[in-house]
Every structure is written in C-alpha cells, then in structure tokens.
C-alpha cells in the first residue's frame, strides 16, 4: 500500500473542483489545493477575511500585508477579484453561495459530523475562527486529513469524541489512503490507494464501510 503524501492529496482534491466553482480553502493542508488547480479551469477562491478571486503568493518584493489570506499569508488578487467586509464575506458562506469548502479535521463521523476546532483538552485555550461558519455554510464540505492519528487511531469515526464544529456537514473525506463519501447513508469508499483492500480499511477504521457503486 502506497500512502499519498500531502501534495498527492492536494492534487487529488483539486481534480474534483469543477470550473466555475466558488471555493474556500481552509488554513493548513487545504491551502495547498490552490497549487494544483488546473490552469485551464477558472475557479474562484474566496478568503473569509474579505476577498474573492484570490491569486497565488506574490514575489517577495510584492508582498502587501494588507493583501493576505485567512491564514495570514501574503496572496495576490486576480483581475476580476474584489474586496468586501466581514459581514458580506460570511454572508457568502452562511448564505450558501460557496460551492466547496475544504477543511482539515481532527475527526469526521460516518454521517458527516465534523470536529476540527478543539481537542477538548482541559487546559486548551479555545479558538474557533471561521471553522463553524465554513462547516455549516458551504454547499459541499470536503475534509482533507490523514486517515490515522500518529497513535494509529482512525480519524474517521462512528461518532466524534472531540467537540463538534458542525453536525452532518461533511460530504466527502480525502485521506492519505482512501476517499470516502459520508452522510446520512453512512460512509462509502469511493477510492483506495493501490494495494489496499476494503477489509484492511475496515480494520484500520473500525467503522462500518460500504464500497461505492462505482468501484464495488
């Protein structure tokens, strides 16, 4: 079994983003997806701190600290982009105008619950940012994460043990070994890396898994 690295995962997610989609890429791993969007597709990246039509990172000399993404990294604005205030920005999100949001996660449940903002540790200082708004607002929420924690526990779970970010909000989970559709009908495997079997995947996750029709 050949696990995908982070670049492979980002490229795989990018493949599923259609031309014309309005997309918000979460902080961290999801940000990498931007690097793999096919040049021939026009895709609109939104950043919740107030820009639409986000372009790639600027050259060192062109860095403008009033032109950053939600991860506070310098970005650029494409021709046709625009700026707006936080109210309008989160109306885009909450109002269902964003087609796809890609987020990282601590855990996702087979029915699509998401936990990605709080480990639940007693001494942790909680910080939520826009996570809950992104989770609940986008038409489709994609999650990118390694399937297992460093300790070998599955992050795809029957029920989240970490505090939730949103209920039944995730539609698809991209991991380093497989891709799952999740939701009311439970988890369906739609892709696996070569060499991995559904039985092995069931062992790794410990959750009820179906093979999607396409690959069954």
């Amino acid at each position: 079994m050949q696990r995908m690295n982070r670049e492979d995962m980002a490229a795989r997610v990018a493949r599923d983003i259609p031309e014309g989609a309005y997309v918000n890429l979460g902080i961290g791993l999801p940000t990498k997806v931007a690097n793999f969007l096919p040049q021939e597709r026009e895709i609109f990246l939104q950043s919740e701190n107030g820009l639409l039509g986000m372009g790639p990172a600027p050259a060192e000399d062109d860095i403008d600290w009033e032109l950053i993404n939600a991860g506070k990294q310098p970005v650029t604005l494409l021709a046709g982009g625009s700026f707006f205030h936080h109210g309008d920005s989160f109306s885009m999100m909450r109002g269902g105008h964003i087609d796809i949001c890609v987020l990282g996660a601590f855990q996702v449940s087979v029915n699509g619950d998401l936990a990605n903002w709080h480990t639940g540790a007693a001494d942790a200082i909680p910080a939520v940012g826009g996570a809950m708004d992104l989770a609940v607002g986008a038409k489709q929420v994609f999650v990118m994460m390694d399937l297992l924690t460093k300790g070998g526990e599955s992050k795809l779970v029957a029920q989240c043990s970490y505090p939730l970010t949103g209920l039944s909000c995730v539609s698809r989970v991209y991991t380093d070994v497989a891709i799952f559709d999740v939701g009311p009908a439970g988890a369906h495997v739609i892709e696996m890396v070569p060499g991995l079997t559904i039985d092995q995947l069931r062992d790794m996750t410990g959750v009820d898994l179906q093979l999607a029709l396409e690959i069954a």
């Binding site: 031309e19 639409l52 039509g53 046709g80 625009s82 109210g87 309008d88 885009m92 964003i98």
Partner: protein, 228 residues
Amino acid sequence: MIDKISPSLRQAVADLHDGASIMISGFGDAGAPHELMDAVIEHGATDLTIISNNAGAGETGIAALIKANRVRKVICSFPRQAASHHFDARYRAGQVELELVPQGNLAARIQAAGSGLGAIYTPTGYGTLLAEGKETREIDGRNYVLEYPIHADFALIKARAGDRWGNLVYRKVARNFGPIMAMAAKTTIAQVAEVVELGALDPEAVVTPGIFVNRLVQVAPLSVAAAA
C-alpha cells in the same frame, strides 16, 4: 473560461418557469430592469410571485406582467401609486394576492435570505396591522416582531456595468434593491448598460461580487432617458 454574459435577453431568461418567485429591483423607475421584464413577458412564464418595492405603474414592467395576467402574488411595500391601475384592478378583483411588507423589513428579510439567517427580530411594524398574528418578543425592553427570510428563484436586477465574472457596479440610486436581491435568489440575472473587461472594475468599488450573479446581459442604456 467562465463567461456569464448572455448573448440575448431571451437567452438570459430562458430557464424561467411557471410558478417561479422573482425579485425585481427598482424604486420607481430607477433601477427597474425594464428590458428583462419585457423578456419575461415574451418568455410566457406565468403564475409568478413578484417581490419588489412596488407593484408596477403605467403600462410597462411589473404593471405589464400583471396586465398580462402572469402574476399570482405580489410581495411589496408600496403597491398603490398614481398609475398602478393594473395592479389595483386585479387586486380588487381578487386575481392578485398581496403581501404588504414595510420597506425596511422587505430589505431585511431579503438580506436574511441572502446571508443564511433563519429568522430575525425586527422592531418595525410591532403593534400594527402588519404584525397581526406574528410572533413577537421583548428584548432588552424593546418589542420586536419575528420575520422570516424572503428567498426567490430568480432576481432580475439592473446595474451600470459588469464583467464576465458577474461583478457589478450600479449608478446612483438605481442601486437600491439590486445588491441585496442578487444575494437572495437562486439565479440572479443582471441587465447592464456596459460590459467591461475583467479587471476594469476597481476591486475596492465592486458593489456586487460575481459570486452573487449568474448571468448578465447588455442592454442599451435607454430606460432612464425613456423614463424622463
């Protein structure tokens, strides 16, 4: 390449359907998308719910839709006008339903739809006929009425200029309901006086970002002159 420019008014409204709810911008003639409304008449869709500030005046626009018997219901703040005879007649005959909404509540409910809120408590209308039967609540010593979002299948709006991504800028008070209706409809169609190259609109001055606009169609900027 994404190009939201429709080649014709006819194509711009081709997917309208009977029973559709349609938001129409404008305050008086300012901002009213007359050419799009003409295209709706030509299209033939009927049993429409119209959401607009007024219920039409004279022989064009919403008045023409009502005259052509295409309108089942009007949600507006100010149906009665000097020349609202087509609405008046159909309303008195029981052929058009009216939901009267205070103008600010109309705006706020459209905004609630566009921004994904489930409901809002507004002070406007409390204790009046227009709040009869509605849920109310006292919050911090003030009384509010619970009002629900107004969504629509389509928004027909008028802007000064737009680009192929759907970014829009408006002209003077013709802006009125355009930006908020664009956010609240499933499909937003804008008629613009000018189509400009991508990047020609100042990103600081774009009023409606393209995400809220599905289609644009260019029409000669005649309607203002005609109205004058």
